[in-house]
């Protein structure tokens, strides 16, 4: 699946050659030598000179000794490729005639191929809708009677060149079904907003996932689409590349820290191998209002990862072009909301965010404000106790001096 060149799984450390080392020293001096704390990020829409425009977005994040390539495309269902190379000079090569052919294998390559340390892909295949009206169980699976799912391969997407925002390093794919007999998407769309980061930080909007230069954020938003029922719960099918015969592992990390996403104490991760490798990270929360306050937070439920042998998956051209036809896939279902509580019906709005990246997944640490308050809150009475003790000890001494006189 990964080809035969070199170890692609695992974002391992490797001894750089002398020339590479020199170039690192020269080029990285102002950026700091330790790891890839910052990257030079560029967004580029790769034009199709052979025919009608195709959405192929290439995000290149160049660090001192490595490059990350994120390739987003909507030829077929929306999909993302993540390729990490151990050189700052790797490039993406696209063979459009091959890519658009029925057998696109080899249509996309990252050169030089022996610099590839990690590669994987995500495909967003289907949008589910459930009627949760008669489901009182909050944790019911599925969350209600399913409607016919929307296949994202049969969506038409906007021209990504018009929706690039170089200032925020983001781009938005906006799509609606090609065949929409009920007119559900007449005023609505499904949007995939992709954003890359030159350095670590945290967005101002919930769920405020901590990102680093090694990650890229995806925000999926369903807005304005008319639901088919009063209490429609939506879901998303995400397909990823398996690891040999097995599926990648899923982790649910419990945390004590909900400062950045109030009342959410969990972080979900999908890991493509032993750390550090590639990962997908998300908080199990979605939002039903644009403000994304706590009152609009929906629980986001995750199914287990399962092989997708049972039904034919819509093929993403870019994934097929890069990984060939031998790759096996695993699917994951996300459902947003339950029959009770806030839901899509509030404002006909739903948004969910995730991070895609390589290396060690970012981990939240206690904020300086909390540490500061704790230090003062525990320090002040402690000091007072100490001072009081000393004061009393001295006072007692004076007393005892008086006693003999009495």
């Amino acid at each position: 699946m990964c080809g035969s060149e070199g170890p692609r799984w695992g974002w391992g450390h490797h001894a750089p050659g002398p020339t590479l080392l020199l170039s690192v020293l020269v080029s990285a001096a102002p950026l700091g030598l330790l790891g890839e704390e910052t990257r030079q990020v560029s967004l580029e829409v790769i034009p199709n000179r052979l025919g009608p425009p195709q959405n192929l977005l290439h995000i290149r994040a160049v660090g001192t000794s490595s490059t990350l390539h994120y390739v987003w495309g909507t030829t077929g269902p929306p999909a993302a490729l993540l390729v990490a190379t151990s050189t700052p000079h790797s490039t993406l090569a696209v063979n459009w005639s091959l890519l658009l052919s029925p057998e696109p294998d080899g249509g996309l390559t990252v050169l030089p191929t022996d610099s590839i340390r990690f590669s994987s892909a995500l495909v967003f295949t289907r949008l589910f809708e459930f009627d949760s009206t008669n489901t009182s169980e909050v944790s019911a699976k599925p969350p209600g009677k399913p409607y016919a799912p929307y296949s994202l391969a049969e969506f038409s997407w906007n021209n990504i060149s018009d929706f690039l925002d170089p200032a925020t390093l983001s781009a938005t794919f906006r799509g609606h079904p090609i065949h929409d007999p009920t007119g559900a998407f007449a005023n609505g769309s499904l949007a995939f907003r992709v954003q890359a980061f030159p350095s670590s930080g945290r967005p101002a909007q919930a769920p405020r996932l901590l990102h680093s230069a090694d990650t890229c954020q995806l925000e999926v938003a369903l807005l304005g689409a008319r639901p088919r029922g009063n209490r429609s719960v939506f879901g998303l099918e995400v397909v990823t590349l398996g690891q040999g015969p097995d599926c990648p592992s899923m982790q649910e990390q419990r945390s004590i820290d909900d400062e950045y996403a109030p009342a959410v104490f969990q972080l979900n991760q999908l890991l493509w191998g032993s750390l550090p490798s590639g990962f997908v990270q998300w908080r199990p929360v979605a939002f039903s209002q644009r403000q994304r306050g706590r009152d609009s937070a929906l629980p986001c439920r995750t199914s287990t990862l399962h092989p997708t042998l049972e039904y034919p998956l819509p093929q993403s051209a870019i994934v097929r072009a890069f990984f060939g036809s031998q790759a096996n896939f695993c699917a994951l279902n996300l459902t947003f909301g339950a029959s009770t509580g806030p839901g899509y019906w509030d404002e006909n709005y739903l948004s969910w965010s995730m991070l895609l990246g390589v290396g060690t997944p970012p981990v939240d640490s206690l904020s300086p404000l909390i540490l500061g308050i704790m230090a003062v809150a525990l320090g002040a009475p402690g000091l007072m106790l100490l001072a009081g003790g000393v004061f009393l000890l001295l006072g007692q001494k004076q007393c005892s001096e008086y006693q003999p006189i009495n």
Partner: protein
């Protein structure tokens, strides 16, 4: 004048010579101030009245014939249950007294029990949700000073109780109507009206208790009333969610109507309490006719100008009180979602653990009361309680340990603090200022609760539970600071706050000599 033990709140020397303290400092607001003067006035000569009345009842058929023609004059013909001088009758009264407060305690924590439902059905955030608690506290910032006055001088105990019960009932009905009509402002108004009645009803309840049980059983009665209040809160926590789901099932859908109807059903407990108030008023009047018993009075004297004479230790005690309670009650109000989200508890489990503080304090209050009585050294006990609470909050905030540990610690320390802190006021305030001091303490406690409820809701909405817990830790640590300062000030001034029981006894004896 000796520093008599009976000056302490709800302190009573029982026949066996044991000194017991029952601390009634219930959830929303303690009703201490009423009790001090009450127990003060209740000791001594009044016990003889009882005997006298019994003698009258037994030996004076003419009395009965004139006063209560319905009651047979012959003592033997009066069943024990109907004879106000008999234990059986008083037990009946006790039952009524316990249920008198049940409604208000049951309904006080309705919002906490239905937190997710209220927020979802009324579409409010946590900040607005916590206003339901704040609106309960606001009227009591003022009413703490006047509850006793209203009962003694304006309404009398019987009418006072009935009026306050009506306020509670009407408040709960308005609260429920706010749900049915989907008007959150109406719910807030309902809580305000409920608050006007709730605290003062507690005052009335205690006045009745003193009026009927001055003498041997008073401590037991206070203890039972306290337990009943806790049971009310606990039943509420565990029942309302279930009730909501039943109403939801019968209506077919969740929504503000479901919420309103659930709250209306919860309001039945208030009607029950109102009926108790009416029956009590009748029985009290009847007993007055038969036994020539005076109408119970709180005996509370409030003089606001006394505030300027309050000493530094008293202000420190106020600080401890406010900073401590604001870290307990708002937390319980917001706790349910915390346990479901952070610890993955089911709704029922979360309700159970959220009510454990009340469950523990019901049996532990008398035990700790006895402990503090036997040992003295109140400041050390307060210090222990505050440190334990601090540890419990730190556990809840920074660990994923089973929260039962932390909540049980919180329940224990909360009960201990109540038993050690409230009596301290009596040590630092002259007797004639006690009413004012306790009224003031309750008033600023309510003020603190109202303000912190709002702040807590805001913090939770924007910063989450960890930050909220850190905020509570900061409050408790401020309280701890005040305890340490109190210890030092007391020590430096040679105050009597931290004497052991034996030292107190010695001082009392030396004064008596």
């Amino acid at each position: 004048v000796s520093l008599a033990l009976r000056d302490l709140p709800w302190r009573h020397v029982s026949e066996s010579g044991h000194v017991t303290t029952f601390l009634i400092e219930l959830g929303q607001c303690s009703f201490f101030s009423e009790n001090i003067p009450a127990s003060r006035s209740s000791t001594g000569p009044m016990e003889e009245d009882d005997e006298e009345a019994r003698a009258l009842l037994e030996g004076g058929p003419s009395e009965d014939g004139r006063g209560a023609p319905a009651v047979p004059a012959v003592p033997g013909a009066l069943p024990a249950l109907c004879d106000p001088s008999r234990l059986a009758h008083r037990l009946l009264v006790l039952l009524l007294m316990c249920f008198l407060g049940f409604g208000s305690y049951f309904c006080y924590d309705n919002p906490a029990a239905l937190q997710t439902q209220v927020k979802r059905d009324m579409q409010v955030n946590t900040t607005k949700f916590m206003l339901l608690y704040a609106w309960y506290s606001w009227p009591n910032v003022v009413l703490c000073f006047f509850g006793g006055f209203l009962i003694d001088r304006v309404f009398g105990i019987r009418w006072g109780t009935i009026i306050f019960s009506c306020f509670v009932c009407i408040g709960q009905v308005i609260f429920a109507l706010g749900g049915i009509f989907n008007a959150f402002w109406l719910m807030e108004f309902g809580r305000f009206v409920f608050g006007v009645g709730g605290e003062s009803l507690a005052v009335a309840q205690n006045t009745y208790a003193v009026g009927w049980f001055k003498g041997k059983e008073l401590n037991l009665v206070f203890g039972l009333q306290l337990s009943m209040a806790r049971i009310g809160s606990t039943v509420n926590m565990n029942l309302m969610g279930w009730l909501y789901s039943k109403v939801e099932a019968s209506l077919g859908s969740a929504g503000h109507t479901t919420l309103g109807i659930t709250l209306m059903i919860g309001g039945i407990t208030c009607i029950l309490s109102l009926i108790c108030a009416l029956v009590l008023a009748y029985l009290d009047q009847r007993a007055e006719r038969i036994l020539h018993k005076a109408q119970g009075k709180t005996g509370e004297v409030i003089k606001l100008t006394d505030v300027k004479d309050f000493s530094l230790p008293l202000w420190l005690i106020f600080t401890i009180c406010v900073c401590y309670y604001v870290a307990v009650f708002p937390f319980i109000g917001l706790g349910k979602v915390f346990f479901t989200e952070k610890f993955g508890f089911s709704s029922q489990e979360a309700s159970a653990i959220n009510s454990i503080v009340y469950v523990i304090s019901a049996p532990m209050s008398p035990i700790f009361g006895l402990l503090v009585d036997k040992t003295g050294r109140n400041i050390i006990w307060v210090l222990c309680a505050v440190v334990t609470t601090l540890a419990a909050h730190i556990m809840l905030a920074f660990t994923l340990w089973n929260p039962w540990i932390a909540m049980c610690l919180l329940g224990l320390s909360y009960s201990l603090l109540a038993c050690a802190l409230w009596p301290m006021v009596a040590f630092v305030v002259p007797e004639h200022q006690l009413g004012t001091a306790y009224g003031f303490m309750q008033s600023i406690q309510n003020l603190g609760l109202a303000i912190v409820s709002i702040i807590a809701g805001m913090i939770l909405d924007t910063r989450g539970y960890l930050f909220l817990e850190v905020f509570f830790i900061a409050c408790v640590s401020l309280s701890l600071l005040a305890v340490v300062l109190l210890y030092v000030v007391n020590r430096a001034r040679g105050g009597n706050l931290n004497y052991s029981a034996r030292q107190r006894e010695e001082i009392k004896l030396s004064h008596a000599e």
